[in-house]
Amino acid sequence: MYLVALVPFFPLLGFVINGLFAKRLGFSEKVIGAIACAMVAASFVCSAVAVYEFSHYAHDATVQAAARQREADLQARLIGSGVTYDAKTNTKQEAADHAAATYSAEVSHEVVATPYIVTLFEWMPGGTLQLTLGPHAGQTAEFSVKWAYQLDQLSGLYILFVTFVAFFIHLFAIGYMHGDPSFHRFFAYLNLFMFMMLNLVLGANFLMTFVGWEGVGLASYLLIGYYLKKPEAAVAAKKAFVMNRVGDFGLMLAMMATFAVFGTLDYADVMAMVKVMPQEPFGLAALSFTTGTLTVIALLIFLGAAGKSAQIPLYTWLPDAMAGPTPVSALIHAATMVTAGVYLVARCNPLFQRAPTAMLVVAVIGIATAFVAATIGITQTDIKKALAYSTVSQLGYMFVGCGVGAFIAGVFHVVTHAFFKAQLFLGSGSVIHGGSPSGHQQEMTYYGNFKKYMPITFATMMLSLFAICGIIPFAGFFSKDEILAKALHTPIFSHEVGLALYAMGFLTAGVTAFYMTRLMCLTFFGKERFLEGPDFQDGHHTDDGHHAPASKDFHPHESPPVMTVPLVVLGVFAVIAGFAGVSEELTGGAMPNYIHHWLAPVMDTTLYPEKPVTAINWTEWLLAGASVVWALAMMGLAYFLYVIRPELPEKLAQTLRPLYTLSYRKWFWDEFIDVYLVGAFKKLNLGAWGVDFVLDSIVNLFAWLTRAGSVIFRTVQTGLMQNYVLVMALGMFLFMAGLGYPLFKALFAPDAPLPQPPSSPQTSRVQE
């Protein structure tokens, strides 16, 4: 299990080798690609071994007992007395029973989390601190942050799918980036990203996660701006970083507040302690550090999550981030990095459960984002942007899952989404790669009927299409349906709220099916339009300058095997991944819900205990059937509009002008931020500079006054003896005139006492 500590460092090694030496030593593309892939593969192998070992470790009776003891100790420390776990009564036999009785829902909340923590060194010591919030306010603790990795069920799952998906995306990138002048830089950045991502999920405390959190932000910045000569890429990169910083601002404050309540940032300690804290009130009253400490912390964490996972209001960076190379979009902006927010919320699930107000915010923001992004997706013509909005929308679903208390469903959707969305992005990469002579055409307007030329891409993307639309039995069906079902039966909010969330989610699912099918239709079906593209026009410009129009006998081509193999593998997983988490409501327990049982120990069930499932719930089947029919109907509609009657969408857009504009211009939110908010801020900055000028002028005024004063006195210094004598005589006269009268008075009116000489400053001080 100690291998887990090595997992992040293989990609770091790859980053160093490719980043520093590849160019100097003149590595070929194959060598660079092989190094990068090998490092990720090594991480995957280590992860797999570590997780396998952990699965045994977690059910070991002594480990369970020790974890329980530790948790009880921590909780006792927090509430002062009372709850202490009696280790004596829990005999070994009893513990073994627990271990044997796994995979039974009844026991699932008996199995406690047994994080396996590897501490490498003390990273940030900071001296003593005082707790200022929560039940322990006034006590002191030590600011000490360790460089430590934590393997538990959640991080184990994450490192497995992250390294797995990343390996295939790296492989794909070897083909996609072929011929790029700074091939080594690309793979160095990708490996840097992997290092940071693995730090993010493996970090044993908030701050280690934050290292990865900001680190993936950096990698994302570097990779979005990878095409150095594209000015819009540079702008998008900066936008992504700064917007993420807004979220990180919240996360930093959340960490400070966590310190102020618990005196530590270690997940294991914080989550154990938070379990004995009472649930906070629901409503606006909880929005203060005094009445709702946990609520505020949870909301601040969610601000960070919303930045990283592109939720309202911080989502606009993600579509812009598509300026980066397509493998980057697949890896960072679809499969892994953007799901970090969901990871963090799931990681903090005991905390969120005690803050129902925050849960409602998470759910509402999630569903709103899902809906808004889906509606924007309908009118996008850039294939990657459409996919980006789809990602934003799916992330919204994940947050709905977390918000209604179904953290496992949220995480499960992360996993299935990683497969099918990575596959879709790589598929779009394959289309972009082979769809035009320049290999950079992303406008679906210039695609059409590619199924004839790219059969593998087409077939695998169809699998993912069914997955994302939620067609049984593809992966997306199980995860999305579980989220919707859990939203309907949420124990946290009232039934009406659950129903509203469900209805919105159901509606959005249909919109998703529509725009995704539209994307597929525009690309793979219909009339061939690729010869109308700008590559074939005279005098078009690319990054490298002027090009002659491409020859008209161009045909789109299928990508090489290094690119299609990842498509196939991920496509297969887009089909089968769902079976890992089939809801037991659907099967009546006939088929275990592996994901659920695996993640159960890290999910807190003390507030909302789960009811064991004993029989098939036919209502669930009804709901599932309804969503499948709904999705199929919307897919059919899209096929009808874009393949059978391709002239209709144009007319529809004319008829529904306001709606179309709203969607096409992205609900005006991008414009509001980029034009009004940033514009006003720039004016404000200029104003601040003006204030600075005023301040400086005040300082200079003193200098000027001195100089002006000197002008007067300078004129007096004429150097003429007569003048000096005159002034002297004048002075003598004034002195005499001034002094004369008091002198006269003192001499001739002695009744008035002479003024006392002032006492010396030294003596006066002592007298005080």
Binding site: T128, T132, V242, M256, W689
Partner: protein, 601 residues
């Protein structure tokens, strides 16, 4: 107080070469080098450059034993030296470093060879005088941090202005005279007020200790802990002050005028003990109203140095006009003297005034204004150097805000920020200097797409940029987070505003980077810029290495700093580390800035 009896005796590190201690050597060696440079033939510029650089490197190597020999078990000063200097007023030549001063001395010696090496091409006239001044300046800066005597400190503090004035005034840009004079006069005005405060406190201290000798001795124990030689040093100072105070009293009472009586002490730690001593009721010995005036006298001089808004306007001019090395030294070291002064003088000497709610909120508000406003002005700049100059205003605002949290996290964080800003901003100025040497312009609009022609340089600039915006694993983040966490403990609203700096910082730095480095090359003059030369690699590598090293492993720095910080916090808030929770402390923890003072009043 409570800890005075638990320490066993431990000897602080020291190293003497005959009568000269290691710290004196570190302090004066650069000056000797400067004098040697003056003997050189001015036509042999290459030789002068090489000599100055080598000498700076030697000075750095000589300062390394300070760290190597450091005794981690001892609190307070090490490498102490003492000699009589001006007996008439009781000023002594006393040197010594504690954890905070040591790290700042090391920062100074570390930057020395770098600023010498980066001037090789930039300085084209009067090389001899330039390098001589650079070396002399180095001595004075080290002296500021190494001085244990307030008068000695003040002398270094003032005399340091002269070489800096000349560096800006002779080798600066177009408006060099204006900037140099502004810098000089502005700083001087502040420090003259400080001198008044110094003397007022000097007399007050003597009177106080004469009245309350036992309380002051208890306060000395808090400072010195187990450090026996330092105890001797400080007690000697206290005794001098006490005798002086008794003499004043006698004189005031009409007794014999004893001319032989000493006039008091300038020993910083003796003065700290007197300022931080409390009577049995926990009240400070010096009345609050007087403390506030003294605080103001010191604070104005230091606030100008930091610089805090609204006393910052000398900084952009001085930074922009100064030669690269001058900017690097200004941003890297000179600004730190301001914050160092707050920790060394204002906090321990006038604790009640510092922690007075009004004073603390005024200072914190100015710091926050510095963060937000400095960042916003940085965003509006057209000149690269000015952007970095205003970013210094913002960063030093964060540092000041962290200091005024008055808790270990805040002060540790502030000290870490001082060090990291010292490295990062110096690096940024040096990097801009490299660009200026090639293009002779610093206007952002003249650049664009530099990454295409100078990839290695751009990578270096990227790392420095990221360190400046506080990316974890680079040095900027550590101090920022620890410091702001301390601020959160003191006041959540301050922490909120302080943390906005991370957004604004990212905005102006990355926007600068985007406009200068990214995109296609538009200006043909940028099309064939040569990338880094071997010499440039040589001085950028240590800077970048330091950024990464202390971002990944800041523990050694914190170990040094925390020793000082704990003492300062103990002096200001004697109950902070108390493990027992009293009933009243729960509120105390919510707003420490107000409560501790309130409890004492």
């Amino acid at each position: 107080m409570m800890l005075s009896n638990v320490f066993f005796a431990a000897e602080p590190a020291q190293l003497f070469f005959g009568p000269i201690g290691l710290l004196s050597l570190v302090t004066w060696l650069p000056l000797v080098g400067g004098l040697i440079v003056l003997l050189f033939d001015k036509r042999r510029a290459d030789l002068i450059k090489q000599f100055a650089t080598v000498w700076m490197t030697v000075c750095f190597l000589v300062s390394l034993p300070l760290v190597v020999l450091w005794n981690y078990d001892v609190r307070g000063l090490q490498f102490m030296e003492t000699a009589d200097w001006i007996p008439a007023i009781g000023a002594k030549y006393q040197l010594g470093v504690d954890g905070l001063a040591l790290t700042l001395v090391m920062l100074t010696t570390f930057l020395g060879p770098i600023v010498a090496l980066c001037s090789w091409n930039y300085i084209e006239k009067r090389q001899k005088e330039y390098y001589a001044l650079l070396l002399i300046m180095q001595s004075f800066m080290i002296g500021v941090f190494a001085a244990v005597d307030l008068f000695l400190f003040y002398v270094f503090f003032e005399v340091m202005l002269v070489p800096m004035y000349l560096l800006i005034g002779i080798w600066g840009g177009e408006r060099r005279l204006y900037s140099a004079i502004k810098f000089f006069v502005y700083t001087l005005v502040g420090s003259l007020l400080m001198l008044v405060a110094v003397f007022k406190f000097y007399f007050t201290a003597a009177e106080t200790v004469a009245k309350y000798p036992t309380e002051v001795k208890a306060a000395v124990e808090v400072i010195v802990g187990n450090n026996a030689p330092m105890r001797g040093l400080v007690l000697e100072g206290v005794e001098l002050a006490r005798r002086a105070g008794v003499a004043y009293a006698a004189r005031a009472g009409g007794g014999s005028d004893d001319d032989a009586a000493p006039l008091g002490t300038f020993n910083i730690y003796a003065l700290q003990a007197i300022g931080s001593a409390r009577d049995a009721q926990g009240r400070a010995l010096i009345p609050l109203s007087l403390q506030v005036w003294l605080f103001a006298g010191f604070a104005l001089a230091l606030a100008i140095k930091v610089p805090m808004v609204p006393f910052h306007t000398w900084l952009p001019d001085a930074h922009v006009e100064a030669p690269t090395a001058g900017s690097a030294i200004l941003a890297g070291i000179l600004l730190k003297i301001g914050t160092y002064g707050f920790v060394r003088f204002n906090f321990p000497m006038f604790p009640d005034a510092s922690m007075h709610p009004t004073v603390a909120s005024v200072m914190a508000t100015l710091a926050i204004v510095g963060i937000v406003y400095g960042s916003m002005v940085a965003l509006a700049q057209k000149d690269m150097k000015k952007t970095i100059a205003y970013s210094s205003v913002a960063h030093m605002g964060t540092t000041m805000l962290s200091l005024f949290a008055f808790n270990p996290n805040g002060i540790n964080g502030a000290a870490l920020q001082m060090l990291s800003h010292g490295v990062t901003s110096a690096a940024l100025f040096i990097l801009i200097g490299i660009l200026y040497e090639r293009r002779h312009t610093r206007l952002i609009a003249d650049f664009g797409g530099v990454v295409n022609t100078m990839p290695a340089f751009s990578a270096m600039f990227m790392i420095a940029t990221l360190a400046s915006v506080g990316l974890p694993l680079l040095n900027g983040f550590v101090g920022e987070f620890i410091g702001l966490r301390g601020v959160f403990e003191a006041n959540i609203v301050w922490a909120f505003w302080g943390t906005t700096g991370i957004i604004l910082g990212a905005a102006y730095m990355l926007w600068l980077y985007e406009r200068v480095f990214l995109g296609a090359v538009k200006n043909p003059k940028n099309a064939d810029l040569p990338d880094l030369s071997a010499r440039e690699w040589a001085y950028l590598t240590p800077l970048v290495a330091a950024m990464i090293l202390f971002g990944v492993y800041p523990k050694p720095l914190v170990t040094f700093l925390n020793a000082t910080t704990e003492v300062v916090v103990r002096q200001m808030r004697p109950n902070y580390f108390g493990s027992t929770t009293k009933a009243g402390e729960e509120q105390a923890a919510v707003s420490p800035a107000t409560s501790d003072t309130a409890a004492r009043d």
